[in-house]
């Protein structure tokens, strides 16, 4: 890959061209060689904007907590960690932790020694990536080509976007105004950002991270602007940055002054991420690096314009559903989420959403999901435009799962789930599945039936389990026969039950990897009262275990 670079003549052999600025830095000489080979220098015609999101992971975590009403305090050092080969490592930090000296990439145990009050939570890497992809699509408001910036492995919880804003900045009133708007819009989302625009992807990346905020770099001043930046701005691997620093090449200007052939010899076999010469070429525009934007996801929406304002959208819905399903079928998609919006004559918009458990494009079914819910739309003085959109779609190819003319079982069930969830709320219908835990209330996980069923991971306990589980367990007043054994009688809900027969104890220890340090073990007994009702009761802790006062008794389940 580097063979062509090796053939270049020595930089000192040719004079600098006259059209370059008078203060041209030595690195321009590398570019000036190209006419000697009979090729025109690539015009620096593109305008690439890079946005650095320095605290993307941490801010997303903070927003998630704030949504639950547990806004984390700013002044307490907080870090997110990921699993490393030798224990957890720091992934992202907040400002307080950074001031205390906690740095991304270091091991959690070391940082705890440095900053004992540091709080740790686990980072959600897949969630961060999905959020960045959504943000990429959201950023299409400024230009049609946006992509998540994956050209350099980001340090820790930082992320970046890159977009080709050539020719779209004038719509926002110029590049400076556009960068200001980007920063404002992102901060309104709770994301701190620093954008920069330059003629190449590499230069924009460097300016967004290592230059004052909202830097702009005109094409003719590219070499001047990047020269004082550190070599880390070249998107090199950390070991190569260290190597260059040991060689005395601290800044990009220093590196560019080195004869090209020497660099080519030294790094001829290095891959792109470790090759300073290739990275420098990318930055200066001698090596093409276009922004490869992902395609827009397909959008499905239909609308119906009404001649005069009406109050009730019900009559228009079947036709809209049919039209939408026609579009979905033609593209091979099915809807997972539907939104009906009405545009009122007074300018307000109100909408109602419904979701499906599996992708569907059956117009009758989709129409029935809105049964009884359109009353919740506030029509005001009437509306004259109705839209039906499918904001979330999935691939749904026509499949035949059975040979007889029966319908697929799963489809019927999914439709039932949709109808129940649409009317009673998605949280009301849930599906328990076995989970790997021996604590009874954790041995099954309850997930919303709308989500895909998880594969069962639990095991069946050997001892009998009750048909019903009380959540939370209810406290009992007991009368002991012997302090170590089951009670002789107990009072539950103001009724006295005499223990006629019992089986147990079955001892269940707390899960030390999940429970708080003070959690006590439980001794479960299966007891039968005087008229034959069978209960599952437990004593929390044992007398003298040093973990609290005298152990209490609870009723946890009822046997059939």
């Amino acid at each position: 890959m580097m063979s062509h670079a090796g053939k270049l003549p020595l930089p000192s052999a040719s004079p600098a061209p006259a059209h370059r600025p008078s203060g041209a830095r030595p690195q321009l000489r590398a570019g000036s060689e190209l006419p000697d080979r009979g090729e025109a220098p690539p015009p620096l015609a593109r305008r690439i904007t890079a946005i650095h999101l320095p605290r993307f992971a941490m801010e997303r975590w903070q927003r998630a907590l704030a949504r639950r009403g547990e806004t984390p305090p700013e002044e307490i050092p907080q870090a997110l960690a990921t699993e490393g080969p030798h224990g957890p490592v720091i992934h992202a930090t907040n400002r307080a932790a950074e001031e205390a000296g906690v740095s991304a990439g270091a091991r959690v145990v070391d940082m705890r020694a440095l900053c004992p009050e540091l709080r740790i939570d686990y980072a959600d890497l897949t969630g961060d990536r999905a959020a960045l992809e959504r943000l990429t699509l959201w950023a299409r408001r400024w230009c049609p080509w946006t992509a998540a910036d994956l050209s350099a492995p980001e340090a820790g919880g930082a992320a970046g976007l890159v977009m080709d804003t050539t020719g779209s900045d004038h719509l926002m009133g110029g590049e400076a105004a556009m960068l200001r708007a980007m920063e404002e819009h992102l901060s309104a989302l709770g994301i701190s950002a620093s954008p920069a625009t330059a003629p190449t992807h590499g230069a924009a990346w460097a300016l967004a991270r290592y230059a004052p905020p909202r830097s702009l770099c005109p094409p003719e001043a590219l070499a001047q602007v990047v020269a004082p930046l550190p070599v880390a701005a070249l998107r090199l691997a950390p070991q190569n940055v260290l190597l260059l620093q040991r060689l005395g090449l601290g800044r990009i200007g220093d590196l560019a002054a080195v004869p090209r052939i020497s660099l080519a010899r030294r790094f001829s076999r290095a891959p792109l991420a470790e090759n300073p010469l290739l990275r420098l070429d990318q930055m200066m525009g001698r090596l093409a690096e276009p922004v490869s934007a992902t395609e827009d996801p397909p959008r499905f929406a239909v609308q119906s314009r009404l001649a005069e304002p009406v109050q009730d959208p019900t009559a228009w819905l079947p036709e809209l559903c049919r039209e939408l399903c026609g579009g979905l079928a033609a593209a091979g998609f099915g809807a997972r989420r539907l939104t009906v919006s009405v545009y009122r004559t007074d300018g307000e918009v109100s909408s109602v959403s419904a979701a499906t458990a599996r992708a569907s494009r059956d117009p009758d079914h989709l129409c029935r999901l809105f049964e009884g819910r359109l009353e919740r739309i506030d029509p005001g003085f009437g509306f004259d435009l109705i839209t039906l959109a499918a904001p979330q779609v999935e691939d749904l190819s026509a499949i035949q799962t059975r040979l007889d003319r029966r319908e697929d079982d799963g489809a019927e069930l999914a439709r039932l789930i949709d109808r129940l969830a649409a009317r009673l709320g998605p949280g009301a219908l849930r599906r328990p599945s076995p989970a790997p835990s021996h604590i009874p209330e954790r041995a099954e996980s309850w997930t919303a039936a709308m989500t895909r069923p998880k594969p069962a991971t639990g095991t069946t306990p050997a001892a009998p389990r009750p048909l019903r589980l009380l959540f939370p367990p209810e406290e009992l007043r007991v009368l002991y026969a012997v302090p170590e054994g089951p009670p002789a009688q107990f009072v539950w809900r103001r009724l006295t039950h005499r223990v006629a027969r019992f089986a147990g104890p079955e001892r269940i220890a707390p899960e030390w990897w999940r429970d708080s340090p003070g959690a006590r073990l439980r001794d479960y007994y299966r007891v039968e009262d005087q008229i034959g009702r069978r209960f599952w009761i437990f004593r929390e802790g044992i007398l003298g275990d040093g973990r609290g006062p005298e152990p209490a008794w609870f009723l946890h389940g009822i046997f059939g």
Binding site: R405, R406, E412, L424, T460, A503, R534, G560
Partner: protein, 223 residues
Amino acid sequence: MQSAPPAPKTHTEILRDLGRPERREAQATLSEVFTETVIDAAPVGFVLARLGPVGKPILWIQDRLSRRETGRPYLAGLPEGTEILHLEVSRPLDALWAMEEGLRCPSLGAVIGEIWGDPAVLDFTATKRLALRAEAHRVPAWIIRRAATAGLSAARDRWRVKSLPALPEPDDLRAPGEPLWQAERFRSRWSRTGTWVARPQATGLILEHGLAANEAPALQQRA
């Protein structure tokens, strides 16, 4: 891709089926179970044993009071391989609506509704609708009623179930073993009424007249 669902049975076909005694027991229909004390889980065990292995998901609907007073179904305690969809509703009207919706879906193995007290909406018309729909789509429906009086209802079978002291555990005389229930069928459209001692078995439910009848050919029934 679209194909016709199985045609629901017409009322003529249902009546013709019911005219033949051997088809009666296999007929899915609506049944009600009452309990004496609300904290007794015997009706739940009775219903599950009567259903037997269904092999399909069970739609289990609880109103809020049933859920709060008697807990929720616990998967580890149910028969192996039971799959449930649990719906918690706040009004009895929603529970009845959800039962009707569920009975329309032949992919379900059964629909179980737990309704507390005597709501006005659970009247003869509502139970008649449920019974007809259960028979038409061949999905068994059970209503477990606690703190309720047995008023007017179109349920084909009506039971009253309570716990009896369990059989002794063979290895441990102090411990309760296999459960026993006293089951009274106090009203039935097609079958005999009477009182039995019921005990669950791997394949269904055994109803017998007292413990002495252990060896006699038991009236074994499966839903």
